[in-house]
Symmetry: C2
Subunit: 326 residues, 2 copies
């Protein structure tokens, strides 16, 4: 038995790193073949508005309007609102661009009219001409809390943006996760008989991916899904491509390596993808019982994104074939 | 008995016309001599935000950041938020500029923290460096409703902005006015023993001034105040300088003239100010028992604004002296 090339892919994504690979999938697959599930543990209410950083980064990326320099927000963004808010003595530590603000205001209107976050996201995506399905991990409220060595636990955006990841972390907590349900679209995606791959994008394992995996029922549904689960390492050569993943690993007493990421996902994935830089780690990861491929995972160009997407999907087909013949 | 030159002035204002004269007063008087009370009947909640068009027009004018071309909003405004909101399918008929938006968001934050509209306005004014007192007519909710010939009554901004004043009006209603109290600052201003003039600025009599005068207790307090009430005609040569006042008068079956405005205010004012264009109307207005002066009321330049302010205050002193000697 072999898996069809037209099989679907469910990509689990945090912000910028995940969005890059999601864009690769979007270019490689037909629109109906891709479902991107985004972390919402970073979501928070700011200035009375519902802010969904990871959903928006993926959404702007799929719409081709993402800000490549910043890694968040919209391209060609202006900041007149923020400057005026600052002059009025307002809370300006979280940078909301003028265009970006429309997303949050419109999402608030949609949620206020009774739509779920899934439905509101679908509406925004339709308006932006995104043909793929982008789905929040849950329609319920989950808030990532960062436990730090010196001080009270921090709301994620306070840690991440306001305090610029400076605090030394000791662990994470996903407030509300036990009462939260995975979104209907997420669960339907995992149960889709046409599913060919579940891909954990190269996002932060602790604060972007773990909240998704910690939702009640998700790990079981992933294990029961007809597709292998493949994670792409966000750590290359001991460094995070972007964000605090490597710093967190050091603070949590873990080696800063793709091997440690594989260990973190052990028991939850069927395959692992590492960068050519880390080729020497492949045997150690395989020794954990995790089939591993080595390829270029540093996505600089759009071609890099598409190539990695194709490579990951080929790996998924190989794993499925291996599993079917076993 | 003569009224001191350092007496205070309480100016009742709607949007752009009133704000012009308020600016004249601000330049002519010491900051502590001026209290501007703005209509809030136009206020509404839009996109979840509390919008106060008249308060903001006066505030931006006193801060020197008003948009002179538009007559509302901020100078040098940008519209990226609105364009993005439109692209997202959002409600874009009410033009919110990027900088202006910060005012509404910050006001929402201040109101949400428990401040009254008076206190929130004071905070915004402080941030903008406005030394004069700008006070909403009430801290309670009053909504101007426009009754129209052909159709259901309209919320004011739907009539004014969305429908561009096209509907034929048959009357106005100030929803909530009976349960509303004039703001404490407004009433304190009317009771101030140093008050030398109460000026009804050249704003729309029906939808900018009448809501203020309709607040329970205001007319009594004005009658009991130690200062004369002077209205400046917003109608010059049968036309409104700005806005739908003249159109409304025609639709309400009133002559479109300064005389009709004087008649509208009859019994509530002690003096009336008309433009030189309307000099011929002065005897008819005086015949209503309303002392009237003729001067240039069309405020094109800042000097015009200051000159009119000075002329109105001189008139107030004359009326006070006359009343004291009577």
């Amino acid at each position: 038995m072999s898996v069809s090339v037209s099989a679907k892919c469910l990509a689990i994504s945090g912000g910028v790193g995940g969005a890059k690979l999601a864009l690769g999938f979007a270019h490689y697959l037909a629109p109906e073949q891709l479902l991107v599930v985004a972390n919402t543990g970073d979501d928070f209410v700011h200035l009375g508005l519902p802010i969904c950083p990871d959903l928006d980064t993926v959404m702007y990326t799929l719409a081709g309007i993402n800000n490549k320099e910043l890694g968040w927000g919209q391209a060609g963004e202006s900041w007149h609102f923020l400057a005026a808010l600052r002059a009025l003595g307002g809370e300006h530590w979280f940078a909301l661009g003028d265009r970006d603000l429309a997303t949050h205001i419109q999402r608030q209107q949609l949620l206020g009219s009774g739509l779920s976050l899934s439905a509101a996201t679908a509406s925004l995506c339709r308006s932006l001409g995104i043909p793929q399905a982008l789905i929040p991990m849950t329609d319920d409220k989950v808030a990532t809390i960062v436990h730090q060595q010196a001080g009270e636990p921090l709301a994620f955006q306070h840690y991440f943006v306001r305090d610029r990841c400076a605090p030394v972390v000791t662990g994470f907590e996903f407030s509300g996760i036990q009462a939260a349900a995975p979104s209907a679209g997420f669960m339907a995606g995992l149960r889709d008989p046409d599913l060919g791959a579940i891909v954990i994008c190269p996002s932060n394992p602790f604060v972007s991916v773990d909240p998704v995996l910690a939702l009640p029922g998700v790990l079981d549904a992933m294990a029961a899904a007809p597709a292998p689960v493949i994670a792409v390492s966000p750590i290359v050569g001991g460094l995070a491509i972007k964000g605090p993943a490597a710093k967190m690993m050091a603070e949590l007493g873990m080696p800063q390596s793709a091997l440690a990421v594989a260990g973190h996902y052990q028991g939850r994935i069927d395959g692992f993808v590492i960068d050519t830089t880390d080729e020497a780690l492949a045997p150690a990861i395989e020794a954990l019982g995790i089939p591993t491929i080595v390829t270029n995972t540093v996505m600089v160009t759009l071609a890099d994104r598409i190539e990695l997407a194709a490579r990951v999907l080929m790996f998924a087909r190989q794993l499925s074939a291996r599993s079917a013949s076993a």
